[in-house]
């Protein structure tokens, strides 16, 4: 052990003083200091000490903005595994605890509709349904008109192509016979 003194000084420069002969003295001082600190700490009433500390004064001296400025939030966020956090969240439990009715009661639906295009969308969809119903009714009417006209023409042995389809101002004059046969040339 004594023969290794120099070797220890080389291997562990922190644990051993570079000055030979002072190792034991340091160990003694260390032991005394530890004992003194323990005695001091045991004799201190921590509650009394803390009651004397003005926490507000300490906090007021802390530059919170400066601290925040020094924090790299992006770096912190990039290290957060969001997927893992989400997996650990029990959404059903959260939803069960949310009072949806209370939230809805607090929402001003009228103001919401005024600020968005929702009213216009509702109006458009309503008019869309109405026009669709009208189109269907009218189309059915036209279909039945044609059905009856075909049967009347059949009974009267009349060709449907001979009949004028409408007033000249609205459908144009019927083409002359020559135009029909020669393609207008």
């Amino acid at each position: 052990m004594g023969s290794c003194r120099h070797a220890l000084a080389v291997c562990d420069p922190v644990g051993v003083s570079p000055m030979p002969g002072t190792g034991r003295l340091e160990q003694l001082a260390q032991a005394v200091a530890e004992r003194v600190v323990t005695l001091v700490l045991d004799s201190i009433d921590m509650d009394e000490l803390l009651s004397r500390v003005d926490v507000d004064a300490i906090v007021s001296k802390v530059d919170v903005d400066g601290l925040i400025d020094r924090v790299d939030v992006d770096k912190i966020v990039s290290r957060v595994d969001v997927e893992k956090i989400i997996d650990r969240v029990d959404v059903e439990k959260i939803i069960d605890r949310v009072d949806v009715k209370k939230i809805i009661d607090r929402v001003d639906i009228d103001a919401l509709i005024e600020q968005t295009e929702l009213g216009t969308i509702i109006a458009r969809s309503t008019s869309g349904v109405a026009s669709e119903v009208l189109d269907v009714v009218r189309a059915q009417g036209v279909g039945l008109d044609d059905f009856i006209a075909r049967w009347v023409n059949r009974v009267l042995r009349r060709s449907s192509t001979d009949s004028p389809v409408g007033p000249p101002a609205l459908v144009g004059r019927p083409p002359p016979v020559a135009e029909l046969t020669t393609g207008g040339r």
Partner: protein, 173 residues
């Protein structure tokens, strides 16, 4: 809702002579609308008279006056709307309108003549309407007297496009 707008038969019918079914349904709608409005007006009149006089009033006690009022109302209902735009409420719903035989819009005179001669078509079991079925230009008796025809004003082609647009939107959703 499932649309049943046919592909071909209704395309490009704007300005064509309107058929019997469409005209009949439009007339039925007009009769319903005019009677409904008359009933509401009569009820309002009865209520007003009772409110002012404090006495019990019923139109059934004044049947002749009621009949005259009804005839005047029906005349106003049809003549005013035909002179205004060539169509009544029922005709607007069914997409048809009254025009002159040459296709130009009718004036107040023709609207009045058509309204006054309309009851004549009901005579002899409605024989005045048989022309809508048998005539090539689908003239009823009162049409012949007033020099008018009824045509489709509904743009079936636009309806078809609307239907296709809605169908595409629905398919995309």
């Amino acid at each position: 809702m499932t649309s049943v707008v046919p592909d071909e038969p209704v395309q490009g019918r704007q300005g064509h002579y309107a058929g019997a079914v469409t005209r009949l349904v439009a007339f039925g709608a007009d009769v319903g609308a005019s009677w409904g409005l008359f009933t509401v007006g009569a009820a309002a009149l009865t209520f007003s008279i009772e409110l002012v006089t404090g006495a019990k009033f019923s139109l059934t006690d004044h049947q002749l006056a009621s009949l005259v009022a009804l005839a005047m109302w029906e005349f106003l209902y049809f003549a005013y709307q035909w002179s205004l735009g060539g169509k009544t409420i029922g005709m607007a719903v069914l997409g048809i309108r009254v025009v002159r035989t040459d296709g130009m819009p009718i004036g107040p005179r023709q609207a009045v003549v058509r309204t006054l001669t309309l009851p004549l078509s009901f005579l002899l079991l409605g024989l005045g309407f048989i022309g809508i079925l048998l005539n090539r230009d689908r003239h009823a008796f009162h049409d012949r007297l007033a020099g008018t025809v009824v045509v489709y004003s509904w743009d079936a082609r636009a309806a078809r496009l609307r239907w296709l647009a809605r169908r595409d939107t629905g398919a995309a959703a």
